[in-house]
C-alpha cells in the first residue's frame, strides 16, 4: 500500500473508531460502522470531443445501531468529530422511535479465508500519471472516432482507488483496498437518415498493464456492434424459438431470477421458492448458476460483505436443482441459518442482500448447433442481444424492447431489428422452455458471465 493510501487508511480507521465510540456512548447496545474512502480522477467525453477533467476524493461513514431490538442508521461524509457525533445521535434517535424487530442483529464475523483474493490493488494504477490516463483516453477516442458513422455522445475514463471498512462493537474489523480503471462509451450509429438506438458499454480493469489492450478491444467491439445496427429491417410477429445471447440472458432472465434467490425475499415469503425447495429441481437441468466473489478480474470481487462476513464462491442452482439462497445476517436470523456473505450496500445505506458475480455455467451445445437447431424448426427467428423493458420479478413475466436484435431467415442473418417487442416468462424460459445452452460463455461489463441460450415459446411482436 502506498504511503498516501496508508495515511487515508489510518484517517478512515480513526474516524470509524470514534463514530463507534460515540454510538455506544449515545445509548446503543451494539453498533456497526461502514466506512469508505475514494479518490478518483476522471476524463469525460461529450459530443464527439473531450469534455471535462475532474479530480475528487472523500470519505463516507455510516453507523447502524441497535437498542434492544430497535435499529437506527445515519451517515455523513466527514471525519470531523462534530459531524460524527451528530450522526451517532441521529442513529440512536431513530432507533429510539422505531418498532422492534427480532431479526435485527450485529454479529462478530470470522476471519477472511486465506484462499480469498486480497490483492485488489495494483500500485501501477494508484501511481498512474495524468499523462498516462490521457493516453489511455486517446486510445478509446481513436477507436470511437475511426468510423465516422459512430457518434460518440458520452464517455469516461476513470482511475479510482478506494478503501472499504467494516467495524463493529463485537470486534469485527475488516478493511480492503481496491484500485481500478473503468471506462465507458455511449453513442449511436448515424448514416444519412438512419439512426440506431443508443448503446452503452462499460468495462473495468484491476491491472494497469492489461488496461490499454482492453480499452482498444472493448471500444472496437462496441463501435462495430453499434454500426452493425445501421442495417435494419423489421421482424415478423411469432411465438416460438428465440436465441438469447449472454447479455440478454443476464439482463432479462438472471436479474429477475436473483430476486427469488434473495434470502430476505424467502424470509418474507414473497418469492417463488422457500427453504423446503432446497435440493429440489426448480428449473431446467441444463441450468447451473453460481455466485463467485473471488474472481479478481471482475468488478464484484470482494473478500467480505457489507457486514464484514467473509465471502465465498457458491452454487445457487446446480443442474436445475436449488442449492442455496443468498443471505445477510438479517435474512439468516429470520430463517434460522447463517449469513452467506451477501450483505450489500455502502456507508450511506443499511445492508441489503445482493449477489456478487453471477455466472451461468456453459452447457454442451456449440453455438453453431444452436443456430442449426433453430433453423430446423423455424424458417425465421430472432437473436436478442440487448433489452430494455419490464421484468416483473414476482410473476416472472417480462415484456420489453429487444434492441439491435438480429433477424435470421433462410439460414442467414438478414439484418438488425432496431426495436421489436418480446415477452415471456422467466420460470418457463429457464424451465420447460430452455432448449439448449451453448458450450462457451461471455463476460459482460467485466462482471457477470453467461452462455447463449436457445429458448422456446417467446412472444415476438414485430413492427
Amino acid at each position: 500500500m502506498s504511503q498516501p493510501l496508508k495515511n487515508e487508511k489510518e484517517r478512515l480507521e480513526a474516524a470509524a473508531e470514534k463514530l463507534l465510540s460515540y454510538a455506544i456512548k449515545s445509548g446503543a447496545d451494539a453498533a456497526e460502522i461502514c466506512g469508505s474512502y475514494g479518490l478518483r480522477t476522471k476524463i469525460s467525453l461529450e459530443k464527439q470531443d473531450y469534455h471535462l477533467a475532474s479530480s475528487d476524493d472523500g470519505y463516507s461513514l455510516g453507523v447502524r445501531v441497535l437498542r434492544g431490538q430497535r435499529q437506527g442508521f445515519a451517515s455523513c461524509n466527514s471525519t470531523e468529530p462534530s459531524e460524527l457525533k451528530e450522526a451517532a445521535l441521529r442513529a440512536n434517535e431513530i432507533a429510539g422511535f422505531s418498532p422492534e424487530n427480532p431479526h435485527y442483529t450485529i454479529q462478530k464475523t470470522e476471519n477472511i479465508p486465506t484462499e480469498a483474493p486480497t490483492q485488489l490493488v495494483d500500485p501501477a494504477l494508484i501511481d498512474l500519471s495524468i499523462q498516462t490516463q490521457k493516453d489511455w483516453t486517446r486510445l478509446m477516442v481513436a477507436e470511437a472516432t475511426k468510423d465516422k458513422r459512430f457518434k460518440l455522445n458520452e464517455g469516461t475514463l476513470e482511475i479510482g482507488t478506494s478503501l472499504s471498512l467494516i467495524l463493529n462493537s463485537l470486534g469485527t474489523h475488516q478493511i480492503e483496498a481496491d484500485s481500478a480503471a473503468s471506462w465507458s462509451l455511449m453513442g449511436m450509429g448515424v448514416e444519412g437518415e438512419t439512426i440506431t438506438s443508443f448503446d452503452y458499454f462499460s468495462e473495468f480493469s484491476r491491472k494497469a498493464q492489461s488496461t490499454p489492450e482492453k480499452i482498444v478491444q472493448s471500444s472496437k467491439r462496441f463501435v462495430s456492434e453499434v454500426i452493425a445496427n445501421l442495417k435494419t429491417g423489421s421482424s415478423q410477429s411469432y411465438k416460438g424459438l428465440v436465441i438469447f445471447t449472454p447479455r440478454a440472458v443476464l439482463d432479462i432472465l438472471i436479474s429477475s431470477l436473483s430476486y427469488h434467490l434473495n434470502g430476505r425475499v424467502v424470509a418474507e415469503k414473497t418469492g417463488r421458492w422457500g427453504l423446503n425447495d432446497r435440493d429440489k429441481p426448480i428449473l431446467s437441468p441444463k441450468l447451473t448458476l453460481t455466485d463467485n466473489p473471488w474472481l479478481l478480474d471482475r468488478s464484484g470481487c470482494s473478500s467480505f460483505d457489507r457486514e464484514g462476513v467473509p465471502t465465498r464462491p457458491m452454487h445457487l442452482i446446480e443442474s436445475g436443482v436449488l442449492k442455496d439462497f443468498c443471505l445477510d445476517h438479517y435474512a439468516a436470523h429470520a430463517l434460522g441459518l447463517s449469513s452467506t456473505g451477501h450483505a450489500a450496500g455502502g456507508p450511506s445505506s443499511l445492508p441489503t442482500v445482493s449477489t456478487h458475480t453471477l455466472c451461468v455455467l456453459a452447457g454442451t451445445a456449440s453455438k453453431k448447433s444452436l443456430f442449426e437447431e433453430t433453423q430446423k424448426s423455424q424458417k425465421s427467428f430472432l437473436v436478442v442481444h440487448r433489452y430494455s423493458g419490464q421484468s416483473d420479478p414476482v410473476t416472472g413475466d417480462f415484456s420489453g424492447v429487444a434492441k439491435g436484435a438480429e433477424w435470421w431467415a433462410d439460414g442467414e442473418k438478414k439484418y438488425h431489428v432496431q426495436e421489436t417487442l418480446i415477452s415471456g416468462n422467466l420460470f418457463d424460459a429457464l424451465g420447460k422452455d430452455l432448449v439448449s445452452v451453448s458450450n462457451e460463455t461471455m463476460v459482460i461489463d467485466s462482471d457477470e458471465e453467461s452462455p447463449t441460450l436457445l429458448i422456446d415459446n417467446i412472444s415476438v411482436t414485430g413492427g
Binding site: G58, F73, N101, K134, S348, V394, V401, G463
Partner: protein, 466 residues
C-alpha cells in the same frame, strides 16, 4: 448561508479564469416498511463544494467536503490543473459563456421549514399505518410496502460572472406497493406521489388512505386480468403515461447535448414533428400547479429557470440548454443545468416536462373511441436518441364502442415518439403532473416531474402472440 456565499466568493476571487463554486448540503431521510416491519429508517447528511472552471476552452472540476478556505483553494487549483491538462486535447474549445439571467439573492420554495419541523417519528407512524391499511384491505394481499423519502436541499451558487444565489427546497415522495396472490397467480401494483414542499403537499390529490386502497384494489383486480394481445392500437394515454412519453421519448431527444450528438431532433427546429394539438413544455415552475416534483427556481449553473416551449402546436420550437450548449446554438440558456450532488458537474436535465391541456373532457374522448385501450399506471420507461420509446403500464382497460370494458394486466407500449405524437387526435382538459416520485437517470439522478392531459394516439402495445 451568507458566510458560505462570502467564502465561495473569496475562493473564486483567486481564479484568473471563469469559475463557479457550488455549495450543496443535503439531508436525506428514508423510511421503508414492509409487512409491518421497518426495513429502513435512516438519515444521511452530505455536504461539500464543487468547483468548476473554464480554462483555455476546457472544463475542469474538483470537489471537497471540507469547507475550510485552504481546502477550497486546493480544490480550485486542482480544477484549474484538470482543465489545463484537457485543453490541449480538446478539438473544439468552449467559447466564452453567453449572457444569462443569472440569479442573485435568496430563492426558497415554501414547505421546507414545515417538513423539517415535523418529527421523523410522526412520518414513520403514518408510513406504518399506510402499509397496514394496504395489507389489510384484502385477504388476497400477500405483501405490501410503503416507502417514504425526503431531501432537504440547501445550496449556494457563485460564479465569477455574477451569479450569487442561495436556495432552499425540500422534496418528498411516498410510494405504496401491494402484491396479491390467489391460486398460484401473483400480481403487483404501485401507487406513488412526489412533491416539492411540505408533508401535506403529498396528499393534495389523494389521501394516504385512498392511496392504500387504490394500491390494494389494483393488485387484486390485476390477479384475474388476462394478458393483452399484441399489435398496433388506438390508445388513450393517462397523464402519467403522457408524462413518461414527454420526458423519456421527447425530452431526452431535445436535450442540446444529445442533439449535438445527432439525436433525431437535430436540425428539426421549425419543422412539424407532432399533431397541431400538441404543445409541450419543460419548466421550473408550472402555472396553476404548486409543489410539482421537479420545481426549481435556479439551476446549478446559477441561471434562473424559465418555461421552455419545446413543441408549439406541433412544431419543434426549442431545445433544452445549459450555458455551454446555449453558446453553441447562440441562444439564451434555459436553466436546465443540474447536478445531483456537490461532487457532480451540472448536466442538461429536465425539470417538469408536460403536454399542455386541450379542451375535450376524458369522458368525451372515451365515448368517441370505437376500439382502443385506456393505458394507465406506468411502470417506468426508456427511450432512444431515435425517439423510439418503450414503457410499461400496470393497468390497461379495453374501450369498445365508447365504453370502458375489460381490464388487462401489464403491457408494454412502444413506438417512435414523434410519429406517435403526430397521430394525436384528442387532448383532454384534465391536466395532472403525475410523475413527481420519479428520478431521471443520465449518469447522475435528477428529481423531475412530468405529466399532462389524457391524449388519444396510435402506438404498438406489446403482449402475447398466440
Amino acid at each position: 448561508m451568507k458566510p458560505i456565499a462570502e467564502l465561495l466568493e473569496k475562493t473564486l476571487s483567486k481564479s484568473p479564469y471563469w469559475a463557479e463554486a457550488r455549495y450543496h448540503r443535503r439531508n436525506s431521510q428514508a423510511l421503508q416498511v414492509q409487512k409491518g416491519l421497518v426495513k429502513q429508517a435512516k438519515s444521511n447528511l452530505t455536504s461539500g463544494v464543487g468547483i468548476r472552471v473554464l480554462v483555455d476552452g476546457a472544463w475542469g472540476f474538483s470537489s471537497t467536503s471540507d469547507l475550510n478556505p485552504q481546502a477550497l483553494e486546493k480544490a480550485l487549483k486542482l480544477a484549474i490543473e484538470c482543465a489545463k491538462s484537457l485543453s490541449q486535447l480538446k478539438k473544439t474549445q468552449v467559447k466564452s459563456l453567453p449572457a444569462a439571467r443569472l440569479a442573485r439573492g435568496e430563492f426558497s420554495i415554501p414547505g421546507y421549514d414545515a417538513l423539517k419541523t415535523m418529527p421523523l417519528e410522526q412520518k414513520l407512524q403514518a408510513v406504518l399505518k399506510a402499509e397496514e391499511m394496504t395489507r389489510k384491505n384484502s385477504t388476497l394481499i400477500q405483501s405490501s410496502t410503503c416507502v417514504y423519502n425526503e431531501l432537504f436541499e440547501d445550496k449556494v451558487i457563485v460564479t465569477t460572472d455574477g451569479a450569487n444565489a442561495s436556495s432552499k427546497l425540500a422534496r418528498n415522495e411516498i410510494k405504496l406497493g401491494a402484491i396479491a396472490s390467489k391460486d398460484g397467480e401473483m400480481a403487483e401494483s404501485h401507487e406513488s406521489v412526489g412533491r416539492t414542499g411540505s408533508w401535506d403537499c403529498l396528499f393534495d390529490r389523494s389521501s394516504l388512505n385512498e392511496m392504500s386502497e387504490n394500491a390494494a384494489k389494483l393488485a387484486v383486480d390485476l390477479l384475474s386480468a388476462p394478458k393483452i394481445p399484441g399489435g398496433t392500437a388506438t390508445l388513450i394515454l393517462s397523464p402519467a403515461m403522457v408524462g413518461l412519453l414527454s420526458h423519456e421519448a421527447i425530452g431526452h431527444t431535445v436535450e442540446a447535448d444529445f442533439v449535438l450528438s445527432g439525436s433525431v431532433a437535430k436540425d428539426k427546429i421549425g419543422t412539424q414533428v407532432a399533431s397541431p394539438l400538441v404543445t409541450m413544455s419543460d419548466s421550473g415552475t408550472v402555472q396553476g400547479i404548486e409543489h410539482s416534483g421537479g420545481e426549481l427556481l435556479v439551476d446549478d449553473e446559477g441561471v434562473l429557470t424559465q418555461k421552455t416551449t419545446i413543441i408549439k402546436n406541433g412544431i419543434l420550437n426549442s431545445y433544452l440548454h445549459n450555458r455551454e450548449s446555449a453558446a453553441i446554438f447562440g441562444v439564451e440558456p434555459t436553466g436546465n443545468g443540474r447536478a445531483w450532488l456537490y461532487y457532480d458537474e451540472p448536466l442538461i436535465r429536465m425539470r417538469n416536462t408536460y403536454i399542455e391541456p386541450g379542451n375535450q373532457s376524458l369522458e368525451e374522448i372515451i365515448s368517441s373511441t370505437k376500439d382502443g385501450y385506456l393505458v394507465d399506471c406506468p411502470l417506468g420507461g426508456q427511450a432512444d436518441a431515435t425517439g423510439e420509446f418503450m414503457f410499461g403500464a400496470q393497468k390497461v382497460t379495453k374501450i369498445e364502442n365508447g365504453k370502458l370494458t375489460k381490464m388487462y394486466r401489464g403491457a408494454t407500449i412502444s413506438g417512435q415518439a414523434f410519429e406517435v405524437l403526430s397521430t394525436v387526435d384528442a387532448v383532454s382538459k384534465e391536466f395532472i403532473l403525475d410523475l413527481g416520485s420519479g428520478y431521471c437517470g443520465k449518469g447522475q439522478p435528477a428529481k423531475v416531474d412530468a405529466g399532462g392531459p389524457y391524449i388519444r394516439c396510435r402506438a404498438t402495445i406489446g403482449g402475447v402472440q398466440e
